[in-house]
Amino acid sequence: MSEAPFGRRLATVTGVDELGVYRVLRVAEQVMPQSGWQAGELQPGQFAMLAAVERWGGGEGERPYLPRAFSIARRTDREAHFLLEDVGPGTQRLCELRAGDQLWLLAPLGRGFIPPRDGRRALLVGGGVGIAPLAILQDTLAAGVGQGHGPASEATVLLGFRDSSRAPGAALLEGAQVATDDGSVGYHGLVTELLAAEIDRDPHAVVYACGPAGMLEGVRALCERTGTPAQLALEAGMACGYGACFGCVVPKRGGGYLRVCVDGPVIDAAELEHVDSHAGAPA
């Protein structure tokens, strides 16, 4: 896991790619380390707080005011990538950014995924814009093969989307099986149904999931039934991203709360009794 430089810093947008309704925001980045599993490396699943430098505010309800949390979707030699969907005044403003525009960036934050042990197969399960951290996870797993220190495990990618305007998001990862709620692309049904079949096929697989609360609860319940280890990357509205505000909590199994920003965002499914949708806040 990598520590973050103290304080938000300026970053410049290098480009924006369209994937259906989603936008891949590409940002010039020289500070964060490359992704990997060693101490000091960027851990897949770590996230950033982003805000536009210009016109942050003045949208719907005179918002946004706070920065917004995004998984680091990809780390290339010179860029960090983020996956956006316009679902509120903050994400709307970020979706408007173009090459040359400036951002405030605080990163990398949080605890990411832990690699699979003993060469077990990794099942990457994503829903909607939540597919983002699975891309850097896939990259990192692929890079680790044959490196000696990384896990030499295969990854199977299962992604669910609402409809055909969102299914193009699957291009963020390689070789994904796609499910859509309306059946317009790929399997007609829930991505958790694809997951159940994969776990049947390989009971020793381990699950890495990120997506809406309902999907994550489905993954959690399924993995609990089958005894499959699962790491869930949670989403929560946050004010700060570094443990200061105590706003982004989810209930912990056995009582009390976890802060998604510093105890997560990746949390072992066994730590949760259920995945709660209450941590949500305006986007």
């Binding site: 430089p5 103290f6 443990g243 105590f246 802060r259 806040a281």
Partner: protein, 308 residues
């Protein structure tokens, strides 16, 4: 730019508002970089209560125009857990931050809250015993267990409580006033009469928000929980408004208090820049606390202090 405050010499006038900066979590996230550029000249802990608290159910945040409402519910390990686990870590951070600036440890101020004078006395008495604690701040935005009224909202009650607690400590005693009262200056005067060494204000303004009603569009609450039946968004029902939205209120209340008391005043409320801090200092605040702006930038305190 050093500032004298209740016998403490501070490197600059910028401190943090209680509950807006978890130095222990920040140390884990930012490592030694936090110490090298520690943003505050004194560090105020989050509110400590006698017994541990887990805090309010989610959702705990609501973004507003130029600010936010929080309904966190004062999660903390309780007095015993704080003194045993958190305070030693805070002292280490304070020493490291002082070292990095070639000076003494950053003074630690412990904020405590209790529902009666007796409870507050126990808390303050325990803080008195610990050399790591340089000063104590009373959070009096707590309903009195007997009257149900916020201790800090009623000048008569406040003066009684402060004078009782005053006997428990020789350390500087700061009273964090509540803005949710008819006459904040009268409360400040009561705190002074009770023996407070300083007052701090403003705390957050009581506020609430309704859950969004358009189905399917924005995240709303549809779980049948307590918030949903009332249409309220926050798990705790109501919370406190902070951020630049309340800056003008803070300026007015700090001005009013400075006019009535002779003890030093810590001003806060929506400070985002050195100019905003300067405004509060110009109306008479000795120190200025930064809170919500640290959420947007953890190094905000350093930036604001540097620009003064």
């Amino acid at each position: 730019m050093t500032v004298e405050f209740c016998g403490l010499t501070l490197a600059h006038p910028i401190i943090n508002g209680s509950g807006t900066f978890d130095a222990i979590a920040a140390r884990r996230v930012f490592g030694d970089a936090l110490l090298a550029d520690f943003p505050f000249s004194a560090y105020v802990s989050k509110t400590i209560t006698l017994e541990p608290r887990v805090g309010n159910p989610a959702p705990r945040l609501w973004e507003t125009a130029a600010g936010l409402i929080n309904s966190i519910g004062l999660p903390n390990k309780g007095l015993r857990g704080y003194l045993a686990e958190d305070l030693p870590q805070l002292a280490e951070i304070a020493a490291g931050a002082g070292d990095a600036q070639g000076g003494d440890p950053v003074p630690l101020i412990t904020n405590v809250m209790g529902a009666s004078a007796e409870e507050l006395s126990t808390l303050v008495g325990a803080c008195e015993e610990r050399a790591e604690i340089a000063a104590i701040e009373l959070n009096v935005s707590c309903p009195n267990v007997k009257t149900g009224l916020d201790i800090g909202a009623d000048p008569v009650q406040l003066e009684q409580v402060v004078s009782t607690v005053r006997n428990q400590t020789g350390k500087p005693l700061i009273v964090k006033l509540t803005p949710n009262t008819a006459d904040v200056a009268a409360c400040a005067l009561a705190a002074e009469h009770g023996g407070a060494d300083a007052v701090s204000l403003i705390n957050t303004l009581r506020a609430t928000a309704l859950a969004p009603r358009r189905p399917g569009q924005r995240a709303g609450r549809s779980d049948g929980g307590p918030g949903e039946s009332s249409g309220l968004w926050l798990g705790g029902g109501s919370g406190g408004q902070s951020g630049p939205a309340i800056r003008t209120v803070a300026l007015a209340q700090v001005s009013a208090v400075v006019a009535r008391v002779v003890i030093p005043v810590i001003g806060m409320g929506g400070v985002q820049s050195s100019a905003h801090a300067r405004d509060l200092i110009d109306v008479g605040a000795r120190l200025v606390a930064v809170g919500t702006e640290s959420f947007r930038d953890p190094a905000a305190g350093s930036r604001i202090a540097l620009g003064l």
